[in-house]
């Protein structure tokens, strides 16, 4: 199999978040936090604005007092097709894969934080502290996700460890990966079903269709980063 054939057969993973259905409950943030062994914020980290949130609710204020409207927009890593973070990494610790997922290899990261600065979505976080959990929680870490040491940058991975396991299972059962078999934890947890995930290159997939809807937009689209996270604005 040559490189191009291989690349063609592979999906391009993307996410759609319907802001009309999202009620900002933060279920996604919590699910992400437990799934990915993200240490909970501490008073210190909160005071210094150094808490880690791979999935964050960005506040967006519309209108002027007294007619203000606060909208909270869930923000994972955008897994840009043209990622600015990769260009600035001096050691190749972050890279885009054939399926469009932006990898962060902690073992390679030297903690220079160029990427956190380059990312226009502020999706990247530096580990300012050694990871710590309250006693009860430290026994229930997810073994499929490694714990990041102090001094490296981390970010949303689209829960690609779930893809690793789903692929392994599919191969053992001698079949292709089924649509919906690989979902990030946030999408799975969303109680209002506001999040969708799948192959953007498969025209029949739900995400591909939603991404093409007139309600669809992407954050800071004019920067040309080509994010693979699409939002649906309020619609009819």
């Amino acid at each position: 199999m040559n490189e191009t054939e291989h690349a063609k057969a592979r999906p391009r993973w993307g996410m759609v978040i319907d802001l009309d259905r999202c009620d900002a409950c933060q279920g996604c943030t919590t699910a992400c936090q437990t799934e990915n062994n993200i240490p909970p914020p501490t008073p210190q980290s909160a005071a210094q604005d150094r808490s880690i949130r791979w999935m964050e609710l960005l506040p967006n204020v519309e209108g002027e007092y007294p007619r203000v409207k606060l909208r909270l927009i869930p923000r994972p890593c955008m897994h840009c097709d043209k990622p600015p973070c990769i260009k600035v990494c001096p050691v190749g610790a972050t890279a885009i894969g054939a399926e469009g997922i932006i990898a962060q290899v902690y073992a390679r990261c030297i903690g220079c934080r160029y990427c956190t600065t380059a990312c226009p979505y502020t999706a990247r976080y530096f580990n300012w502290y050694p990871p710590r959990w309250p006693e009860q929680l430290s026994q229930s870490l997810n073994p499929d996700v490694s714990v990041r040491p102090r001094g490296v940058v981390e970010k949303c991975s689209f829960c690609h460890h779930r893809l690793q396991k789903a692929r392994d299972k599919a191969a053992a059962e001698k079949r292709e990966l089924r649509p919906g078999e690989y979902l990030p934890a946030c999408v799975e947890a969303c109680p209002t079903k506001a999040m969708f995930f799948g192959d953007l290159d498969d025209p029949r997939s739900e995400v591909a269709q939603l991404a093409r809807s007139p309600r669809s937009f992407r954050l800071l689209e004019d920067l040309g980063t080509e994010p693979k996270v699409f939002y649906l604005r309020e619609g009819e």
Partner: protein
């Protein structure tokens, strides 16, 4: 490009150098003999490493895997006596890990052994001929080995394929 850079850096510090540097020899509770069990008695690997063909993790045997044959001594070896004692007392034999990769790497046996058709020897050397537990891995498996074979076989070399 990242790969070429990495290969340059990584080849300076191969895993065996690190292992040798630490001088961390593995000591097993019993002088187990692969040669006798595999070559003479023809016991399949998956009898003792239950997940090596169908699971993600190969696993190491528990004392109950030895109980069928070692409730009484078959021979005169002192090492076997230890096993018989453990079986009688139902005392666990705590095997030390020989091969292990860091927690930030995902590896799955069934994918390589089953769908990949790769022999155990390719990654573990001639374990089946060992008369005593080896004190160090027979093959130093590094990322370069994983990548080289993946390239040869047209398997993905994206960082996210292995790292997590």
């Amino acid at each position: 490009m990242a790969f070429d850079y990495l290969r340059g850096v990584r080849s300076l510090i191969p895993l065996w150098a690190i292992l040798a540097g630490c001088g961390s020899e593995v000591h097993q509770p019993v002088g187990y003999n692969h040669d006798v069990h595999v070559n003479k008695l023809q016991i399949g690997c998956d009898n003792c490493h239950a997940g090596s063909m169908t699971g993600q993790v190969a696993g190491l045997p528990t004392v109950s895997d030895c109980a069928d044959c070692h409730a009484e001594a078959n021979g005169t070896s002192d090492e076997e006596k230890k096993v018989v004692e453990a079986v009688k007392a139902n005392r666990p034999l705590v095997w030390q890990r020989l091969y292990s990769i860091p927690s930030h790497v995902f590896f799955t046996h069934r994918r390589h052994v089953q769908s990949g058709g790769i022999a155990c020897e390719r990654c573990h050397g001639l374990m089946k001929n060992q008369k005593r537990p080896p004190p160090a891995p027979l093959v130093a498996l590094t990322m370069t080995d994983c990548i080289n074979c993946h390239r040869e076989r047209g398997v993905s070399t994206d960082c996210t394929t292995c790292h997590r």
